[in-house]
Symmetry: D2
Subunit: 166 residues, 4 copies
């Protein structure tokens, strides 16, 4: 059985109308390419991305912090019930072969960090920027728009899938 | 979007030929009824159940203990990479609306316990039996064969899905 | 620096007066022998055991399921805040070099299972009894009273500490 | 029973001689003030901080990623064995009433993020700096040296302990 590709989309649980447009675009573009979307399963960026994916018949997985599948947004097809609170952020990061970070707050930052710690590529759309010792960290790959983000994520995920450890 | 039903199949990472026949039967019967199979993603009971489900075009989710999706058996369509070791057993239990336990060792016992602690029904096929204070605990519902196990699990999952908290 | 010994005491969050007597005895006997008591940090058996240990100047660690150290019972000196719900049960089990199980419900059963899965010895005082395939599992070592439980746990913990993997 | 204060010290598993001097200073200053040091239990910053604390008779807790207490550095008095890999970073962050971040890589960044997500104050000594939308995030409170870091952390931890939720 050939397994498909998995991309995690991370971002805050609230998002503006403009944000929702971007997120939905990411979801749609992933679904059009047959990629399974992994996310935290809640509202905001997560819901907008799932809605976009669902509109194109894509598969969506929501890794929930709480104890009930009812917390999942209505576009999550496969809810994973962790009951682990935000310690589940590590699982959201690790379950993608690449991560697309959109906007976001500290929860998103923790997912970016868990991904980078595991050598999983992170593509950023208007998200955190990091520096250490006065020097910028270039690990987050910047994207201009949803199509750009998805293409960069897919290229890196495929590379990892063939040669890398993920 | 109407979400389907999710049943977790738990059991040890090694199983006999007879075991594999039972497990495969459970996987096939779940898939025939359109139920998504959740499991720990590794070998033994988990692989046999996934293979059975895949043979009928069913969807299979593997919640892995390690850091790599490559640990998943070849019949897992959606690998969830937890990196949490056997603490992931709680997630396997909670992500099902009912749990079918087949044979198994202490890992399976921990999943049974996590399910019962969360009021998730457990159906047993040749698995652990529990007692306290010299009195048998009747929480594990006994099944005679794969079809019986799947029918009992589905009846309870549907009840929980409509009226219950899961 | 010579590190001391660590014994986990597990049991339900409610206990009878008789239960509290047993649990307090276990806490006291551990403290008298200079052993650090690990537990889930909440009420019932956990609180009674911590109170017993504190009465003898013992050190008590509570590995909490929630997000606040205020959930800890007043006899926990060192609260560990996991925010992971009952997935923390695996940590309670693994952090002891032996486990003493007193009474208890399904949460306790999950801790027993996680301990046995990790080859950590389990001593039982009026707790679960397990069987598989009609045959009793003898892994839980029965104790007659708190002193007996503590002596058995210590003997096994010391053995593991010297020769074993824990 | 009056419970003491708990400060988490986070940082990478390797550190320079200069780093070790800073970390050791933080550990010593915490111990002199009777504060329990929480850390990830391994080498580098964690070991240097524990050694500093131990030199002043302080209490040290190491929340380990792996399955064995033998992974702990020799200055950890109380090893917590999570077996959860880097998902344990959330626990390291949450178990402190304030967090002192020293240097560090992506693991440290994830701990900073988990702390900020939980409204736990973070004091930085030569660690990450964050910005979003071209604007610097001021959540990490900068310290000049170990004494300054410890005094700022303690002031904030005490405030949280009295009025706040931690």
């Amino acid at each position: 059985m050939k397994r498909g590709l998995f991309i995690s989309v991370i971002g805050g649980s609230d998002c503006s109308a403009e944000g929702a447009r971007l997120d939905g675009g990411v979801g749609r573009e992933l679904a059009k390419r047959g990629v399974t979307l992994i996310c935290g399963g809640l509202q905001g960026v997560m819901e907008a991305a799932c809605r976009g994916a669902a509109s194109q018949g894509g598969v969506t997985v929501g890794i929930l912090p709480g104890d009930s599948r009812k917390d999942a947004n209505p576009y999550v097809q496969i809810p994973i019930v962790t009951g682990m609170g935000y310690a589940r952020n590590a699982i959201v990061a690790k379950s993608g072969q690449a991560v697309i970070a959109i906007g976001g707050s500290y929860g998103t930052l923790s997912e970016i960090a868990h991904a980078l710690q595991n050598d999983i590529p992170v593509i950023g759309l208007g998200t955190w920027s990091l520096s250490r010792g006065g020097k910028q960290d270039k690990s987050i790959i910047l994207a201009q728009n949803p199509v750009d983000a998805v293409e960069k994520a897919l290229a890196l995920a495929q590379k990892g899938g063939k040669d890398g450890r993920h």
